[in-house]
């Protein structure tokens, strides 16, 4: 009663809320942010894998601080990490299991929800066959959950149509590594950024997307930074040598560099001889990629191409890093192979500062690659390898004939499978395709044909959960235990700081509960109670594999901090995981992009990210400080194009492709993009870039071609 009056008169200035105090661990800070206890954990956003402390007071997560002793981030965090505790108590958390009854989602008990999940899925499988059930998971769970889920789906439900959103992300890197080196697994580490003489970034805007990696790069004062990107990103602006190449000409550029290096004998003949195969074919193949040709394809001057080749070729140690600019392409896998070619023929692998290095996306994409049972059998084992299957059957005490011999459908094929009438039930876990999947119209058409859609997520409603027949409320980061593995194969502990809200349960608990209802718990997860049980089994499964976790225990992680499997670098001995032990060189041609601009759709649309937001904004869109920094989507356009269209800064436009449109988006006129190109961040459902993108996929990795499609711009 009195408080509003006191406030109005200025007698109450909320002194306590804005006072300061001393935290024993982090010193002076806002008293309101000083927790009762700090829980050591690992950031749940991206794959950089920063160590952090989550502060808890009275059952609330109230603050975060970077872990000063963590080798990855040394106390720093990006803006998303710095505000991550807000994601936990954000509005719109999923609190109760919800079941669609009479067309409306209604609160039901967990028993009912799980019985329905298992009952409906089994009914669908009985009617249409086991493959009628599809599962789409994520890169956001802990390794223990991925391992558990993989067994549950592949062995419990006996469907191979199981994939993750990691296919939308770094599947091309995985396929590329497998083809070149015989196995997945990024060979280098972040320290290479500090030690390399040349750092060559291709389609990687780490300043925006992996800001904490910049911390490593900036420490390297001798390095020459080369950046190839069609857009002058902040990373490109900070480069010593910037290559403003045309979209989808990276293969030509890389082949051109190889051409010059061979021509000028800047290659490591000894390494090629001992550790690679296919060099003679490659040498012959790249003959046509002479500087004049490459200049024509890439739009770069011959001088610039020669200069780049020589800087790279003369470097004692050279690091090549890439992210989505390479992966998000119908030729993503092959581009990775050409990158590997370049590293291999110069022997730039397996040494400090020398590595072809895929900078991964999500916090635990690596965990699902290693343990997840989607694109390969756990422990980087191959579906089509009899020995691998037998080994697993023995370890699991499972009939070998029930271990799948081939990979099931990948993400886009599962969506396609719905159209074909094969997939009838879909379980989506911790991912939000109704923002992130290319060609949204096609996706909604597909999903409307499902008989049963389950969405398991930490938040509700989100665009995907709004479509669900059953919503399972899940715990999120901060509410569960396990491990994440980052881009440099560093395994870090993730710890539970508080209980999930409402009736939400950890994904691990949900998977075990489902297995019980399936009658498979005892066989699949004998005696399992906590994530550590899964981790210990996974340690045994991975023993003697490239990704060997057998010596990594929870206790060691707690005492020693994060540990890299495989040591600092892979392939230091030059022995690869192929049958011959030699890495393979590939001859790759540079193809046209799947949808080139034409008269009625004259612009090339490029999509990407902004530093303030994570993926589809289910978390960061709910965090006020981040959301207010970047509250809406924008479309970048070169000033010359804007002039032709008579657009002024911040005018609202409509963007259309053959598949759909963004009805209203502000134009940002900036010379960061080339004339003829548009850039739109994909985070925003309100102006969804994926209404426009083309559903074309890499034939090898099945990764979508998010980075180029043809669009038109209209004034509104």
């Amino acid at each position: 009663m009195l408080t509003p009056l006191l406030k109005f008169l200025g007698l109450d200035i909320a002194k306590e809320k804005y006072s300061y105090g001393i935290d024993p661990q982090f010193g002076f800070m806002s008293s309101a942010k000083i927790p009762d206890r700090w829980v050591k954990t690992t950031c749940g956003y991206c794959s950089v894998g920063c160590g952090m402390y989550l502060g808890v007071k009275n059952g609330k997560a109230i603050s975060v601080r970077g872990d000063p002793d963590h080798p990855v981030n040394e106390g720093t965090l990006c803006p998303k990490g710095l505000s991550e505790h807000h994601s936990i108590h954000a509005k719109g958390r999923a609190l109760h299991p919800l079941l669609k009854i009479d067309g409306k989602l209604r609160k039901v008990s967990w028993d009912m929800a799980l019985d329905t999940l298992v009952g409906r899925m089994l009914a669908i499988q009985r009617r249409y066959g086991p493959e009628a059930m599809g599962v789409l998971s994520t890169g956001q769970l802990v390794t223990e959950e991925f391992y558990t889920l993989g067994k549950l789906i592949q062995l419990g439900f006996k469907t191979t149509n199981y994939d993750g959103n990691t296919t939308l992300c770094m599947a091309s890197a995985v396929s590329g590594y497998k083809r070149s080196f015989g196995s997945d697994g990024p060979p280098g580490c972040y320290e290479d950024l500090e030690k390399a003489d040349v750092v060559f970034l291709i389609g990687a805007n780490i300043a925006d997307n992996h800001p904490i990696l910049w911390n490593h790069l900036r420490k390297n004062e001798k390095r020459i930074l080369i950046v190839a990107d069609p857009r002058v990103t902040k990373t490109a602006m900070l480069a010593d040598l910037y290559l403003p190449l045309k979209p989808r000409s990276d293969i030509a550029l890389l082949n051109g560099l190889i051409h010059i290096l061979i021509r000028d004998n800047k290659i490591n003949a000894d390494y090629i001889d001992k550790h690679t195969e296919g060099f003679n074919d490659l040498k012959k193949f790249v003959e046509k990629f002479n500087p004049p040709n490459v200049s024509k394809t890439t739009g770069l001057s011959e001088d610039l191409i020669e200069k780049t080749a020589h800087i790279y070729g003369n470097a004692p140690s050279a690091f090549i890093g890439w992210t989505m600019g390479v992966n998000h392409s119908t030729q993503g896998t092959e581009t990775v192979n050409v990158i590997n070619n370049l590293a291999l023929i110069t022997g730039q692998i397996g040494r400090p500062g020398a590595s072809p290095f895929s900078i991964t996306g999500q916090c635990n994409a690596m965990g699902t690659r290693e343990a997840g049972f989607t694109s390969s059998l756990p422990g980087y084992r191959k579906f089509d390898n009899q020995t691998d299957r037998e080994e697993l059957a023995q370890l699991w005490n499972w009939p070998v004939e029930e271990i799948p011999k081939t990979r099931g459908w990948a993400y886009p094929d599962i969506i396609e499978g719905i159209f074909k009438g094969v997939i009838k039930g879909l379980w989506i876990i911790a991912t939000n395709p109704f923002v992130s999947y290319p060609n949204q119209k096609l996706l909604s058409d597909a999903v409307s044909r499902l008989e049963f859609l389950v969405v398991q997520d930490g938040y509700h409603p989100i665009p995907t959960s709004a479509m669900a027949d059953l919503v399972l409320p899940a715990a999120i980061w901060g509410e569960k235990e396990g491990t994440y593995t980052n881009s440099e194969r560093r395994v870090s502990k993730v710890n539970k700081a508080l209980d999930p809200p409402g009736e939400a349960k950890s994904d691990f608990t949900i998977f075990l509960e489902v297995s019980k209802r399936l009658g498979a718990f005892d066989k699949l997860f004998p005696g399992w109670k906590k994530p550590e049980d899964a981790f210990n089994e996974w340690r045994e499964i991975s023993r003697n594999r490239l990704c060997d976790y057998s010596e990594i225990t929870y206790e060691r992680l707690r005492n020693e901090g994060p540990i890299q499997w495989g040591g600092e670098r892979l392939y230091s001995d030059g022995i690869f995981k192929t049958e011959s032990g030699k890495a393979k060189l590939f001859c790759v041609d540079c193809h046209e992009m799947p949808e080139a601009p034409r008269s009625d759709f004259p612009f090339i649309l490029n999509t990407g990210r902004t530093v303030e937001h994570w993926h589809t904004r289910t978390k960061t869109g709910r965090i006020e400080v981040l959301e207010k920094m970047s509250p809406e989507a924008w479309a970048e356009m070169n000033p010359h194009d804007a002039k032709k269209l008579k657009l002024r800064q911040h005018d609202l436009i409509r963007v259309l492709s053959q598949r759909g449109s963004i009805e209203k988006i502000a134009v940002r006129i900036t010379a960061i993009v080339q004339p003829g190109q548009i850039f739109i961040p994909f985070h925003y459902i309100e102006a969804c870039a994926n209404n426009l993108t083309v559903a074309e996929f890499d034939p090898l990795s099945r990764e979508p071609n998010y980075k180029q499609c043809a669009v038109r711009v209209e004034r509104i």
Partner: protein
């Protein structure tokens, strides 16, 4: 080469301060500093002690986008401190940081107008201003400010500055899109790229965002000015008629007039208190009368209101009639009022608000006084004439009326001049802020602006017309007070609208912002 400090120690050598160093060549625009600041200080999302802005230029592929992270620059000549009416700000003797005494701030927000960098920020939850104190407590404990510790690219640093040397040459405090450092002697050192592009523009340049209208200040300024103008008109009227014969009409008029004017000023001053975040402590605004024009405004208008009350009382009761006392008191009322208006105008004449920082501001304020005051007096005068059925122009009446009308017309012309001068001046300037004001006047607010001009013009035309009619009929009473009253309302509407536009179309100097 100045050394960057990660572990500050106190005390500093004499003549040394701590300060920020921001390296534009290293910043990757990640905004970690901004979020870390929020976390350190528990500030709401809209209270931005630190903000990252952008400037951009060049042609593809030689494009440059520079991020500029800026918090308080802990100036050597802090304008927040100089303008503060309550002496809330001080330069910390240990670190040189510009800090605030939490309890003395009354939330008037004047510092937020004075600072060219938007460093002091009004926190609506606390109803007071808050700002960066260089993480004072962390410095004492030997830690760098939270934003500096959070920077992953090493762009934001912390170091010592020799203040006397820095005063001699502060060129390193200047950068693209950032207000001229000499205004406040900013201490933040900037490292710029070697080949700085000449066409770098603020990316927020396109954005037209009107300032807050400050309705209570619109009322305060216009009504106090009307009141002062009215008193002045009364005072001079009385001097004029003293020369002639004091008719019963004039006697009555001189009794009623002062009360009306006092009432107007009391209303205005009462309203203005609620402009403050902490109205309970309004009286504290008097404190810095030696330095702050805001304190002086409060002082002179308080004086004016009290003297006006005394004057009105004396007039009314006709007690205490010593020769010359009313005249002396009247002169004091008028003088304190004029001083009040002048102080008012000076409040707005600050370098951080370019469209206000001009002789046009006092001209406009005095013109408002001399349009509305005499008009109000004319209304009262003609009303009295109607009530008493004594012809208006009888005896001294004609002289007074002519004087009032001439004053109104002269002031009106000055006001028109000040408006057009502002329009053409701002249209002709290149400066980001002035150009912005011109765009707001001619685009965003073009209809209110036309209405403002039109109303003023019509009321000015109306005054002589009414007077002509009056002379022709040559009688008191009738409809005259209604006609003059209508003109007064029109003029008042015009002045209120004008003052509203004055507030909403100012484009403050500011640290650069981002695209949104």
């Amino acid at each position: 080469m100045i050394e960057s400090i990660t572990k500050p120690s106190i005390p500093l050598q004499p003549g040394e301060n701590y300060r920020f160093h921001f390296d534009l060549t290293k910043c990757i625009g990640c905004k970690c500093c901004e979020v870390a600041c929020h976390e350190q200080n528990n500030n709401p999302a809209d209270v931005k002690w630190r903000k990252v802005g952008e400037v951009e230029g060049g042609e593809f592929p030689n494009t440059a986008r520079l991020y500029i992270s800026m918090a308080c620059n802990h100036c050597l000549n802090p304008s927040c401190l100089a303008g503060c009416p309550t002496d809330t700000y001080y330069k910390d003797p240990l670190t040189g940081a510009v800090r605030m005494k939490e309890d003395t701030c009354i939330g008037c927000g004047y510092c937020t107008w004075n600072c060219p960098y938007e460093a002091p920020q009004f926190n609506p939850e606390r109803r007071m201003v808050t700002k960066c104190d260089l993480c004072h407590n962390r410095l004492i404990a030997g830690d760098a400010p939270a934003c500096v510790s959070a920077c992953p690219s090493g762009a934001l640093q912390f170091e010592k500055v020799q203040t006397e040397e820095w005063k001699k040459n502060i060129s390193q405090a200047n950068g693209p899109g950032i207000p001229e450092a000499s205004i406040t002697l900013s201490t933040t050192r900037l490292t710029l790229p070697k080949n700085l592009k000449s066409d770098l523009d603020r990316v927020d340049d396109y954005r037209l965002r009107p300032e807050k209208p400050h309705y209570s200040l619109v009322l305060l300024t216009v009504l106090t000015q009307a009141s002062v103008g009215g008193f002045l008109a009364l005072f001079i009227s009385e001097l004029l008629v003293r020369l002639g014969h004091l008719s019963p009409l004039l006697q009555k008029f001189l009794k009623v007039g002062p009360w009306a004017m006092f009432g107007l000023s009391a209303l205005a001053l009462g309203t203005s208190v609620f402009h403050l975040g902490r109205p309970f402590f309004a009286w504290k605004a008097l404190k810095m009368w030696r330095r702050s024009w805001l304190s002086r405004e409060v002082l002179f208008f308080s004086l004016f209101a009290n003297l006006a009350a005394a004057y009105s009382l004396l007039r009314w009761t006709e007690i205490f009639q010593l020769p010359g006392i009313l005249e002396t008191l009247g002169a004091l009322v008028a003088l304190s009022g004029l001083a009040g208006i002048y102080s008012s105008a000076r409040i707005y004449m600050v370098p951080a608000r370019p469209s206000w920082n001009s002789i046009r501001t006092p001209i406009a304020f005095f013109s408002t006084a001399l349009i509305l005051g005499p008009l109000a007096i004319l209304v009262i005068f003609s009303w009295q004439s109607r009530q008493t059925a004594i012809p208006l122009l009888e005896n001294g009446g004609g002289l007074i009326s002519k004087f009032l009308v001439m004053t109104i017309l002269t002031a009106g012309l000055f006001q028109l001049g000040s408006i057009l001068a502002k329009l053409f001046y701002t249209l002709s300037q290149e400066e980001h802020e002035l150009r912005g004001t011109a765009r707001l006047l001619t685009q965003w607010f073009r209809y209110p602006f036309l209405a403002r001009l039109g109303l003023l013009f019509v009321s000015l035309l109306g005054v002589p017309l009414t007077l002509l009619g009056l002379l022709e009929s040559d009688s008191g009473g009738g409809s005259v007070p209604f006609w003059i009253g209508a003109i007064l309302l029109m003029a008042l509407a015009s002045e209120l609208l004008g003052r509203y536009l004055f507030f909403v179309t100012v484009v403050p100097k500011n640290r650069p912002e981002g695209y949104f």
